[in-house]
Each structure stands twice: as structure tokens, then as C-alpha cells.
């Protein structure tokens, strides 16, 4: 991300666009990202969550993709998307208890390509919002490498990092578990949600960001650069 900060994700996007093969990735990269100086309230955001079989994009598999729009303090559920991804291999039973996607459901899912195309299309011209950026960033990049031969760039906001920054600024020790999505939602008095469903988590993350921003000194003046990774 230091790379992005020096050169800017817009510059990188333009460079990658030249190399990108025609198709979904090219379409995605051909639209400029929102300006960093833009107010957050004016910025189109896509809140995204992946359920995976593990933490390693190279070895583990993407099980489901969920996303929803966030714009101007509003989450239109019309924009919500949820897709289980079909993949080979059996699921480990301890995984199944977390994300509750069974082998038979997985076998009925769509191929990875379908879910990634839908995601890239929805994400075009927007900022990606996630909780704990590593998973979504690495799995999306890996998927793009597998599908299109290259990893794209995409600006991200991470609600975990927003919370962490706030705690770090206070300079007191804290329990890392307080940075979990459900723990943070509780702190902001948001309702309990059914975790580990990709769409539910995407909605939960979007709600959390609204609560985090609204708790800031002047929420209407928060710009994209205040929050970008």
C-alpha cells in the first residue's frame, strides 16, 4: 500500500489498464476511482465480504461472495448480492460450522468466474469496504491472477483499521478481540447480526462504517483520504 500512497492508485490503475486483457478486468480498470479528496458522504462504496476455507489465498478456496452498496449514509438492499462459489475438493468440517456452507450447497454454486465478474462490475468506480482487508484483497487478487493473468488495484477502506487507528491514537493497551466485527458493532450499539454469511457481514460492515464515521468530530467533513488504507 506504500506503493499506492507514493504513486496513487489512479496512476497504477492507468498503468494496469494498458496491460489488462479485454473483458471484465479491463472494464473494471477503465473507470476512474473516486477522488481521494472527495467527501466520504459523496463517495460510492461497495461493502464486500468473502467466506473462505482459510487465510491463504494461494492454498485456500473462496466459498462465497457477498456485497452491498453504501452511498450517502444509506445501504440499498436492492444492490445486495450473495453467491456461493463452486469449487473442487471436500470442505473441512470445522470450516462448515463457521460459515455454514455445506458441500452440497457449494456444489450447486456458480463457478468462481461468475462471482468475480459480478463483483468487478459492481465495484467499478467505487471504493471497496471490508473488515480486515487482507482476506478480500489477497483472495480477489489471486482470483484475478487465476482468471485474467494479473492482479488489479482497488482502493479500500477497512473498518478494522479505522477502529485500530482510533485505539492507537489513545495510546492505551487493548485486547485485539475488541477489533472483531461483532465486538465493534456492539461498541457502537448496533444490533447483533448473524455473522459468517458473506452478505450479512458485508451489510454489518457497512453499518459499522456509518456508525464509526458518525462518531467522528465532523462526520460530514470526513474525506475519502481520511479513511483509505
Amino acid at each position: 500500500m506504500i506503493f499506492n500512497n507514493i504513486f496513487g492508485y489512479e496512476a497504477k490503475r492507468k498503468r494496469l489498464l494498458k496491460r489488462a486483457p479485454a473483458g471484465p478486468l479491463h472494464d473494471f480498470l477503465s473507470v476512474p476511482f473516486p477522488d481521494k479528496k472527495q467527501l466520504l458522504i459523496d463517495t460510492p462504496i461497495l461493502s464486500v465480504d468473502f467466506e473462505t476455507t482459510g487465510l491463504h489465498a494461494k492454498n485456500d478456496k473462496l466459498l462465497s461472495v457477498g456485497f452491498v452498496d453504501l452511498f450517502a449514509n444509506t445501504i440499498p438492499l436492492k444492490s445486495s448480492y450473495h453467491q456461493i462459489v463452486r469449487s473442487k475438493g471436500r470442505l473441512k468440517s470445522d470450516n462448515v460450522t463457521i460459515h455454514q456452507i455445506t458441500d452440497s450447497q457449494k456444489d450447486q454454486g456458480e463457478p468462481l468466474r461468475v462471482a468475480i465478474e459480478a463483483l468487478l462490475k459492481a465495484l467499478t468506480g467505487k471504493v471497496m469496504l471490508v473488515h480486515f482487508a487482507r482476506i478480500e484483497r489477497e483472495f480477489l487478487q489471486q482470483a484475478c491472477i487465476n482468471l485474467y493473468g494479473m492482479a488489479p488495484v482497488f482502493p479500500m477502506i477497512d473498518t478494522l483499521m479505522v477502529a485500530k487507528k482510533r485505539l492507537d491514537n489513545r495510546d492505551v493497551a487493548y485486547d485485539p478481540s475488541t477489533l472483531r466485527l461483532s465486538a465493534l458493532r456492539q461498541q457502537y450499539n448496533l444490533p447483533e447480526h448473524h455473522a459468517h454469511n458473506a452478505l450479512n457481514d458485508a451489510i454489518a460492515t457497512a453499518e459499522l462504517l456509518m456508525a464509526q464515521v458518525n462518531a467522528m468530530a465532523s462526520p460530514n467533513k470526513v474525506t475519502l483520504s481520511d479513511l483509505l488504507l
Binding site: 457477498g66 450517502a72 449514509n73 444509506t74 445501504i75 440499498p76 438492499l77 436492492k78 445486495s80 450473495h82 457502537y188 450499539n189 448496533l190 444490533p191 447480526h193 448473524h194 454469511n197 452478505l199 450479512n200 451489510i203 457497512a206 453499518e207 456509518m210 456508525a211 458518525n214 462518531a215 462526520p219
Partner: protein
């Protein structure tokens, strides 16, 4: 697709009227939700929402205010706000968030389109408080009629078990002795535990005595073998039909062919007639106060049973009041027997809820005596003794002494007719605070016993005056309007107009009393002599004081709140708790709260009308 929006779907599904929708339809509704986040103290709708919207509160709180900044109500989790479904009609109402709030916004035109096949659901948002309440009460009243019938009473509610039986080897005389000793009119005849027949009083008379059969003959000579039986799963109506068509008074009840019990025609009559009329006739037969006291113990049971059957509060109030009247009359008859005949004509009066026929079990006694002007000073002892006997007797029967001492034992309320004339003149002409206090009790008077013309005379001249005295009516109105219904509910609290929260709802003072007061004011202003609240409202409907629609709305509100009060009391009595009028909102379903809010709105509207008209 299965559970992708299950959280939100589950949340919305629990909120009426969305609970009426099938899941597939609800999924379509959920898809149209815009989740909005509002900071504390933010005005609504947020400027991003341009269309007519319906809001469902997911978390947080909203308040809305009149143009003069008077708090009109609040919304909390799971509340539906329809203020912006038709924003043009609520243009002056300000809605704002009290806390950081998560809101589900639905475009109202889109919702109407999605739900076009579910007019009941849309109607819920479209109807006024009055319309919704009326719909609810129409259903309650229909149910009351259906459920009070025998058809809905299973036989198990009133059959006897075990059944008195006798061996088939017994003689006719042995059977007659057993029946006499145990007070049965019928015995089941058994052969080694298996049921072979039935013998009744009538069989002994017709088949034995009338035929000159010796009593030492075996009982089997006169029994009815293989009598008609009824299955245990039948209802009271079935039993009645069998007995009527076959001209029989005893019906053995079987469970899978095995004898289980017995139903008699008397059981059916008792069950159907375990009502005011029946209890009244027992009261008439009582000869001592302690007998009456024993009978009075049945009163709470009767109320519980009536409430369970779905009887309307109006009917229950009338029944209980009629029984109280029967107790009073019986006590007066006993007193007259003891004290000798009354020296001059008089009437025993009931005041307050009993006079309005709105009494429930365990209420206190409010009574008075009106005596003929022919009364001589020495006669006052007789009336004092009468008042003491009756009042003590009523207390023994569970009607506690009136805490405000509005009783015939109080000399002030045991007076000749001319003094009563004077009392009412004074109350109407110079409405002091004491007069207004008395008004709520004494303007609801009825004759329980004695010469009814004594009261009628006083009442007629009083009504002539109240009809003309705008000052009196104005004072009465002002006083009555002090009791305001709450605005509604906020979370599990009762929300009052000053924004204060209370943890319990006082159904009597915040719901019933304001309507009773309004009805009294209308009746006095129109010179109507009825005392029962519903009767008053019906009679003033379409007059200068009250339109027909408003009367109907108030009756709906009154019946709904009375029903909740009665159910609450019955539940408390069943749990051996003292009945009261306090209801914690937690005990109310979401829908009941909505109906209550509607009822409060009806009361407030009529109070506001009253306020501007005096």
C-alpha cells in the same frame, strides 16, 4: 437465496402487519429496504430520501413534535413510522432522532405496488387509528358471540367423573337407597366393571312403582340396557342435541368405548346458566349474611370464566353489577325483616361504577339513601340501622367500605329528597372542586331498591339544569381533561405527554376514566338520564355534543381498554394476586400496543374537541 438476508427478514417478520406476509413476499419487501444511519439529533427524513417512505426502526429512537413543538410520540426498535407515507398530510410534524439510529426505509409507493395483493397489510398503514380500532373491536365482538356458545365448549368442561355406579346384582331398593343417600338421580349399572346399563329416578317410578313391581327384584329388571352415550370429544352443543331429540336427561360419556363420565341436563343448564341470572336466584334464596358471603366467593370465578369465554367487558360489567345489586337487595330485605317495615318510602341508591353497570369483582361499595320528605326526625334511626346492616353485609361479601366514605352510613349521603335537590342545585350552580369531585360519583346514580320515583324526580330536575348550565359543563370538562391518556409506548415504557416514562400503564385512570368522564359530560349536557357509559355514548350520538362517528370511535376505544383491563384482572385473580388496573407494557403484544395507541389517539382527539368547545 436461502438465508442471505435472513437477519433482516426475521426482524421484519416479527412486526405486525408484516407477520401476515408469506416469506416469498417478505423477501421482496426486504430487498427494497434502504438501511439509513442517523446521528443523534438529526431531522428526518434525511435529505437523501426524496420519496414517500415508511420507516422501520432497527435500533435507536425517534421523536415527533407538533408545529408548536409539543411531543406527540416516540418510536423505538421494531416500531413502524408511517408519518412520511403521505408527507403532505404531516408537513408540519417534525421527526428527529434522539439517539444514533439505524433505520429501515421503504419507498411507500414501491411497497404499495409490491403488496398490491395484500390489501390487509397496506390497510394497516393507511387506516386511521379509529378505523384500525373499529376493525379490531368488530372482530372481538364477533368472537365473543361465537365463543360464548355451547359449540365451543367441550364436554370435558362439565361432565362428572367418576360416575356413581351399582352392581347388576343389586335390588331395585338398594339402588333407590344409594340414589337417595348420595343425591343422584341416575346410576350406572356395572357387571364386573363393564358398563351394561343405566337406571334413573324415572325408571324406578315408571317401571317399578307404577307397575307394582316388588323392590327386591333385581335392578336389571328396570334398567335401560345399552343406553345412548356420547363420545368425550363432543361439545356441549352435541350433548344438548342428543338429550333434546331423545328426551333423555342423562348421557353417559365414553372415551374410546370405555365409560368415562356422565353429563346431565342440569349440568348443561348450570354451565350455560352459570351467569348472573343463575347466581342471582341463589342469592335470593339465601337467608343469612354468612350464606351471602359464601356465595360472593363465586364472583371472581364467574368473572374469570366470562373473561376466558371471550365475553365482552360490557357484558361482564353488567353481570357483576347485577349480582352486586342482588346482594344489596337481599341484604335490604333481611334488614327490613329485622328492623320492621320502613317508616316512610325511600330508595337505596348505588353510585359510581355499580350505577354505571361497569363493576368488576372486588370493587368497593358506593351507595346512598334517598328518603321521602315525609320523614320524621325519629325515623332517622331506622335508616341508620338499615344503612349499617347493608353496608356491613356488603363488606362481608367482599365489597370493601368506600375509602371516600360515599356510603349510606355517612349521614351526609342519607338524606330526604329535598336535601338531595339542594345538593344537586349547589353542585350545578356553584361548581366548586368538591362539587366536581362528587359529580363523578353522584351524577352516576341508580336505584337499587325502593321507590325509584324519588331519585327520578331529583334526576329530572338536575338534568334540566345541567342542560342549560354551560358554566357547570365547562367546569366539569376542565376537570375531566386533567386526566390525559399517554402518548403511547417507548420501548417497554408508557410514554406520557411530558416525555416522562412510566413502567406501568394505569388502565383505569389513563384509559377508562377519561372516556367515562367524557360520556358523563355529554349526557349531562344533553339531559340524558342513562348512566352506563356505552349507553350514554349511544344516546348522545348525533347530538350537538357528539357526532355519530365520534361516539362509535369512543365506544371502540372504551371496549378495547375495558377488555384489556378485564383480562388483566382475570389473569391476576387466577394467579391469586389482588386484581388491579396496572399493566406493565411488557405484558402487551406488539399488536395490542398498536391498538392501545390507537385508542389513546381517539381519546385525545375527543378531549381536544372538548377543550376547544367549552
Amino acid at each position: 437465496m436461502s438465508n442471505e438476508l435472513a437477519d433482516i427478514l426475521g426482524f421484519v417478520k416479527a412486526i405486525p402487519p408484516f407477520d401476515l406476509l408469506p416469506d416469498t413476499q417478505l423477501e421482496m419487501v426486504v430487498k427494497e429496504i434502504d438501511i439509513c444511519y442517523l446521528r443523534k439529533q438529526e431531522d428526518i427524513p434525511p435529505n437523501t430520501l426524496v420519496t414517500e417512505s415508511l420507516f422501520i426502526l432497527r435500533k435507536g429512537a425517534l421523536s415527533y413534535y407538533s408545529p408548536s413543538n409539543e411531543l406527540l410520540g416516540m418510536f423505538s426498535e421494531s416500531d413502524i413510522c408511517t408519518l412520511y407515507c403521505h408527507p403532505q398530510t404531516n408537513i408540519n410534524i417534525r421527526l428527529c432522532s434522539n439517539e444514533d439510529t439505524l433505520l429501515y426505509a421503504l419507498s411507500y409507493p414501491a411497497l404499495q405496488k409490491t403488496l398490491q395483493d395484500f390489501p390487509d397489510v397496506i390497510a394497516f398503514f393507511e387506516q386511521s387509528a379509529e378505523q384500525r380500532l373499529h376493525k379490531k373491536m368488530t372482530r372481538v365482538n364477533e368472537d365473543a358471540i361465537i365463543s360464548s356458545s355451547l359449540m365451543n365448549t367441550p364436554i370435558t368442561h362439565f361432565y362428572h367423573t367418576p360416575v356413581a355406579s351399582i352392581s347388576h346384582k343389586s335390588t331395585i331398593q338398594q339402588a333407590a337407597i344409594k340414589m337417595t343417600d348420595q343425591g343422584y338421580s341416575c346410576l350406572i349399572v356395572l357387571n364386573n366393571n363393564s358398563f351394561i346399563g343405566i337406571v334413573t329416578d324415572k325408571d324406578i317410578r315408571r317401571r317399578c312403582v307404577a307397575q307394582g313391581l316388588p323392590f327386591n327384584q333385581p335392578i336389571t329388571d328396570i334398567i335401560t340396557q345399552h343406553p345412548i352415550t356420547i363420545d368425550i370429544n363432543s361439545n356441549a352443543y352435541d350433548a344438548l342435541m342428543v338429550m333434546t331429540s331423545k328426551h333423555i336427561h342423562h348421557l353417559p360419556v365414553t372415551n374410546q368405548g370405555q365409560l368415562e363420565g356422565m353429563v346431565t341436563v342440569t349440568d348443561l343448564m348450570n354451565y350455560e346458566g352459570q351467569n348472573a341470572v343463575n347466581l342471582t336466584s341463589i342469592i335470593h334464596k339465601a337467608t343469612t349474611v354468612s350464606e351471602l358471603a359464601k356465595i360472593s366467593k363465586m364472583l371472581p370465578k364467574l368473572q374469570i370464566r366470562m373473561a376466558k369465554l371471550g365475553t365482552t367487558a360490557d357484558h361482564v360489567g353488567k353481570s357483576i353489577s347485577a349480582i352486586t345489586m342482588a346482594f344489596t337487595i337481599r341484604l335490604i330485605e333481611m334488614a327490613e325483616k329485622l328492623l320492621g317495615p320502613a317508616p316512610v318510602p325511600y330508595a337505596w341508591l348505588a353510585a359510581g361504577s355499580q350505577a354505571r353497570q361497569e363493576q368488576l369483582a372486588h370493587s368497593d361499595q358506593d351507595n346512598a339513601l334517598i328518603i321521602s320528605d315525609e320523614m320524621k326526625p325519629e325515623d332517622s334511626f331506622w335508616f341508620f340501622d338499615l344503612a349499617t346492616f347493608v353496608s356491613d353485609g356488603l363488606a362481608a361479601c367482599g365489597f370493601i367500605y368506600c375509602p371516600g366514605d360515599i356510603m349510606a352510613t355517612n349521614q351526609k349521603w342519607r338524606q330526604p329528597q329535598k336535601v338531595w335537590h339542594r345538593y344537586f342545585d349547589k353542585w350545578v350552580n356553584t361548581p366548586s372542586s368538591e362539587a366536581l369531585l362528587n359529580a363523578s360519583v353522584f351524577f352516576d346514580l341508580t336505584t337499587v331498591y325502593g321507590d325509584a320515583s324519588l331519585l327520578e324526580n331529583v334526576r329530572n330536575s338536575m338534568l334540566e339544569k345541567t342542560k342549560r348550565s354551560t358554566l357547570f359543563i365547562a367546569h366539569l370538562s376542565k376537570n375531566a381533561l386533567k386526566l390525559r391518556p399517554p402518548l403511547g409506548f417507548f420501548r417497554d415504557f408508557v410514554l406520557k405527554h411530558d416525555g416522562e416514562n412510566k413502567s406501568v400503564l394505569d388502565l383505569k385512570h389513563n384509559g377508562i376514566a377519561p372516556i367515562v368522564d367524557l360520556a358523563r359530560i355529554y349526557a349531562l349536557a344533553e339531559g340524558i338520564s342513562a348512566t352506563n357509559t356505552i349507553e350514554r355514548l349511544k344516546q348522545v350520538a348525533g347530538s350537538r355534543s357528539l357526532t355519530k362517528e365520534s361516539a362509535a370511535n369512543l365506544i371502540d376505544a372504551y371496549e378495547f381498554i375495558s377488555m384489556l383491563r378485564m383480562q388483566n384482572q382475570s389473569t391476576r385473580m387466577q394467579n391469586n394476586k389482588k386484581p388491579n388496573n396496572l399493566l406493565p407494557p411488557k405484558a402487551l403484544s406488539k399488536l395490542e400496543r398498536e391498538h392501545l395507541k390507537d385508542a389513546f389517539k381517539v381519546i385525545k382527539t375527543m378531549q381536544d374537541v372538548r377543550q376547544t368547545s367549552y
